[in-house]
Amino acid sequence: MKDTRTALLQGTLDLLILKALSTGELHGLGVSRRIEQMTGGTFAPQPGSLFPALHRLEEAGWLESSWDASENNRRAKFYKLTRAGRRQLGEETEAWQRIAMAMTRALEA
């Protein structure tokens, strides 16, 4: 399973981050935990790829951030989706579903 974890595609990670944030704002580690939980432990993005991705998405205008207290009272940076990010999530979900469907069909045939 370790192999799958490290071979996480960048586009996939972006999509997972957007999805993880679709239900509300989270700090960096929270995003990682949510993804792990959503994928049943299949994906657990490492900080080395998670944080660059978060900042890239923020710079692209899909996420915005604010500083707040974390669950154990540490000053943490919370991310949430912007409207553009929500739209991006919709588009990418659609694209991904098309690809996944096509792949499944191709592999099953």
Binding site: L29, P47, R56, S70, R75, A76, R86
Partner: protein
């Protein structure tokens, strides 16, 4: 958050990296600590938890690096996207792109051209010298005389040189190179020589291209006469032959040894570039009999110096001020009120720098308005486009684009326009600069004007383009990004009044600015016309040069002069020719005269007269009719009866309402000793006054004048009595040659050829048209008038484009309304009136504001430039009419377009 605040925040983020880094640090720290907490909760010891967390996290610095890369990458991606999008938009509307680019290019080119010239003349240190930053220009100032003489005498220079301790060296040079003859085995020719103090080259740190330059040892006591040649002259005259170093050449027929050639880069310290340098002691050869080395009244030297290490210019200035006061104490009469000033050593010497800088700043201010107009224009077009793009903006905001992103995108578009405009502008500026230099009147002395397109100029153009982009783009960008989604998506024609108002304001401003400039140009042109009208003679078509027979070794020269003028008159291209000791309108030699039967002013024993020795045909050559009497003729020889022609004012003052011809004037002279030589001159003619419009009122230099007098003075002080005397009766070896061409072809070259044919060794100034010699003020006004005029007309064209844009847009957005009106039976004339009304309101408002500003501008101008009237009804009405008609023309097309709207079509449109 307002868009402006967002913009500020955006820039802050961009520039405050450390702030971002601290945030990133905090973020990762928190994440790491939380990870440790997780592991502790899962049952690990704190140490083990930390190790596990560190393993999971990887090296924290590399994570940071990757975050930074990701951010930068994203920004660059966005910039690339924006640029591509902007480029596509600009390509898609070529008309808009062309208009906007050209507008900006015009503005940027205008400012850059002026800056290039100013940069070349004012801020460029002389080339070919060592460490130009520590060189200073030292010049004199007369206390209480704003534009007094700034040059120094040789004794004064020696005083300064002896006392100055803050300078490692003080040098002096004649401000103007003087014509001399250079003779060698292969002939003789005229060259321009600069007399300099022996330490000139050492203090400046000029290198030699061959041989050696002067050293302090080459002072007046040295036996041998020596010269240094400029590299250019050496190449041209001697083909760069090294054998010339050490060889003997003839300077004004006197042997000089060429000791060396100056470095190729060095052209002297100011604009005038000498071809030969001679030590000051050579004055005995160049100008025999002068007391230049000892006379404190001979002021024609420029001074310069080099600051000692760790000495500032202000320290040197303070010391020199002290020195000036000491010299004044030592020579209380000769050096009364003389102070010393210190400036940068630049192409323009001494106090002239202040004048030139002022003019430069004025020009820059004037051309900056073009840039402002251009920016307003682009702003206007962008606003109009923003109107067309409201849907696009609204859609983008609706689907979640941040305002910051929109502003960024719009600014990227403007930036791209500014880059295009800037590049075009720079190219245009380059062409304009060379055109400007080519249009300069010919100089009698070789000059070195290099106005390079150096990095300062490029930096300036980039800066100006940036400012232009900001000016032109910010308002439309802020405005566009505020698009009201609902309104924009729902309906086309509402919600745009705000934008329309802003755009209208821009057009008003444009019209006002160009109006000011055109009014000023007209005022200046009127001043020029007035000058031309007050010029009592017709300088057009007359070429003038001057020669000095004394320096060329003629003992008398009278025969030579007669021969020369006869040959000139015989030439087929010459209508008439004459000789004159002084140029017309430039006064003459001060003389003391008495007049039988007329009492001199109270307290004086004689009148102050000014005499100009002229040959016959002087008045004919200037196209001036004598009021009475006759011109000088062949019978007025040295043996004949002494005669004079006086000016009309002189005649009126001496013999009011009486015949002046036939009366006598007594000329008193002191030649050599104290004996008063008295000559009776019979008045044979009366000539009109030949005023120089900018001639400074002559100050009477009698000591009595300075003392406060208590006696009652006559209401009107007597005029300076202007007298012309025949050159044959009072010959001077130094005179000007004036020749009027028969046709349009100038005869300067003919004069030159004739003089050369008579004596190849005679030094002569390059002939110049007489109308170019109307003084620096005239030139200043002419330059200012052409710049203001050109700039104002460019502004007018830009403003017309603005008016057209507004009128066209308003017609377009009111298509439906016009359709309804037409359908309801409105006449075409009504529609035209409606469109015109809107456009012309703007033009009228702009013109009104412009004229009001021009009123203030005229006041300012007339206080700065002599001869300019602050207000002229003609100027103002001409300009008002011009702007209204251009405005009408600009509105005409949209109006015509409006009348052609098909009512049915317009109504069916929605």
């Amino acid at each position: 958050m307002t868009p402006l605040r967002r913009l500020i925040a955006f820039w802050r983020n961009l520039w405050r990296r450390e702030h971002l880094d601290r945030d990133l640090n905090d973020e990762l720290r928190t994440a790491f600590d939380s990870l440790v907490d997780d592991h502790v909760r899962a049952g690990l010891s704190r140490e083990e938890a930390q190790r596990a967390a560190a393993l999971e996290f990887g090296p924290i610095e590399s994570v940071k690096d990757r975050v930074r890369d990701a951010r930068a990458g994203a920004s660059l991606d966005i910039l690339r996207l924006d640029l591509r999008y902007a480029a596509r938009l600009l390509r898609r509307s070529p008309l808009f792109t062309t208009v906007a680019t050209l507008s900006l290019a015009v503005g940027i080119a205008a400012t850059t051209t002026i800056f290039t010239v100013g940069n070349g003349l004012l801020f460029r240190a002389p080339s070919g010298v060592q460490d130009p930053d520590t060189l200073v220009d030292i010049f004199r100032a007369e206390e209480g005389v704003p534009m007094g003489n700034f040059t120094s005498s040789y004794p004064y220079f020696l005083d300064v040189q002896r006392s100055a301790t803050s300078l490692s060296g003080v040098f002096a040079y004649e401000l103007e190179p003087r014509p001399i003859t250079i003779g060698s085995a292969d002939g003789t020719e005229v060259a321009f020589a600069n007399l300099v103090s022996p330490n000139y080259f050492t203090v400046l740190g000029v290198r030699s291209a061959a041989g050696r330059l002067f050293t302090a040892a080459d002072d007046s006591t040295s036996e041998e006469s020596i010269a240094v040649l400029s590299c250019r002259f050496w190449q041209r005259r001697f083909n760069g032959d090294r054998a010339i170093v050490g060889a003997t050449i003839q300077v004004n027929r006197y042997p000089f040894t060429v000791v060396g050639i100056a470095d190729e880069q060095f052209h002297g310290v100011n604009l005038l570039s000498p071809e030969v340098w001679l030590p000051m002691s050579a004055i005995a050869v160049v100008q025999p009999g002068t007391r230049r080395l000892t006379n404190r009244a001979l002021l024609d030297l420029g001074m310069g110096g080099r600051l000692k290490v760790e000495t500032s210019r202000s320290q040197a200035a303070a010391e020199l001020d002290q020195i000036a006061r000491q010299i004044e104490a030592a020579y209380p009469t000769e050096e009364h009120g003389i102070r010393l000033r210190v400036g940068r050593l630049s192409s323009i010497p001494g106090a002239l720098t202040t004048v030139a800088t002022g003019l430069f700043m004025l020009l820059l201010a004037v051309v900056s308005t073009v840039l402002i107009i251009a920016c307003a224009n682009v702003s206007g077009v962008l606003l109009a486009r923003a109107a067309l793009r409201r849907r696009e903006m609204a859609v983008r905001i609706a689907i979640g684009a941040g305002r910051r992103r929109l502003i960024q995108q719009l600014l990227t578009e403007t930036m791209l326009l500014a880059v295009l405009g800037g590049a075009t502008g720079l190219a245009v500026a380059r062409a304009a600069t060379s055109l400007l230099l080519a249009a300069l009147p010919p100089f009698p002395v070789p000059i070195d004007i290099s106005v390079p397109l150096d990095r300062h100029v490029v930096a300036f153009a980039v800066l100006v383009s940036g400012i232009a982009a900001g000016l032109a783009g910010l308002a439309p960008a802020l405005h566009a990004s505020r698009a009201d989604i609902i309104v924009a998506l729902k309906d086309e024609s509402q919600g745009s009044s705000d934008r329309q108002r802003l755009r209208s304001a821009f057009v008003v401003a444009q019209v006002a600015f160009s109006c000011v400039l055109v009014v000023i140009a007209v005022l200046l042109v009127q001043a020029l016309q007035r000058i031309a009208a007050t010029q009592d003679f017709d300088p057009h078509g007359v070429e003038v040069t001057s020669i000095d027979l004394a320096t060329a070794g003629y003992a008398a020269g009278g025969t030579f002069a007669r021969d020369l003028v006869d040959r000139l008159r015989a030439h087929s291209a010459v209508e008439s020719a004459t000789l004159a000791q002084w140029m017309p309108g430039r006064g003459g030699t001060d003389v003391a005269v008495t007049v039988p039967g007329v009492t001199p002013p109270v307290g004086e024993s004689s009148f102050l007269g000014t005499a100009n020795a002229i040959d016959s045909d002087f008045f004919r050559t200037l196209r001036v009719q004598l009021r009475a009497g006759r011109d000088f003729n062949a019978s007025d020889t040295a043996d004949g009866e002494p005669v004079t022609i006086i000016s009309a004012t002189t005649a009126r003052y001496l013999w009011p309402n009486q015949e002046a011809v036939g009366r006598y004037i007594t000329w008193h002279e002191r030649r050599g000793g104290t004996t008063d030589i008295v000559t009776m001159l019979r008045v044979v003619g009366v000539a009109p006054d030949l005023k120089s419009p900018f001639g400074r009122p002559r100050r009477r230099a009698t000591p009595r004048d300075a003392a406060p007098t208590t006696d009652v003075r006559p209401a009107a002080a007597p005029p300076v009595l202007m007298m012309y005397v025949p050159l044959r009766q009072r010959f001077t070896p130094r005179f000007s040659i004036l020749a009027r061409a028969r046709g349009e072809q100038p005869v300067g070259q003919e004069i030159r050829r004739l003089v050369k044919a008579m004596d190849i060794n005679l030094p002569m100034m390059t002939p110049q048209p007489l109308d170019a010699d109307t003084g620096p003020v005239y030139l200043q006004i002419r330059v200012a008038a052409s710049v203001a005029g050109a700039v104002g007309l460019i502004g007018l064209v830009l403003a017309a484009m603005g008016v057209y844009g507004v009128a066209a847009y308003s017609t377009q957005s009111r298509t439906r309304e016009i359709g309804v009106r037409l359908a309801l039976g409105a006449q075409q004339a009504d529609i035209v009136r409606m469109v015109l009304h809107h456009g012309m309101t703007l033009v009228t408002a702009g013109a009104a504001v412009g004229l009001a500003l021009a009123l203030a501008g005229g006041q300012l101008l007339s206080s700065r430039l002599a001869g300019v009237e602050p207000f002229s009804a003609t100027a103002f009405s001409i300009v008002a009419a011009l702007f209204l008609s251009v405005g009408l023309a600009a509105c005409y097309l949209p109006a015509r377009h409006a009348t052609q709207i098909d009512a049915m079509e317009a109504l069916r449109y929605e």
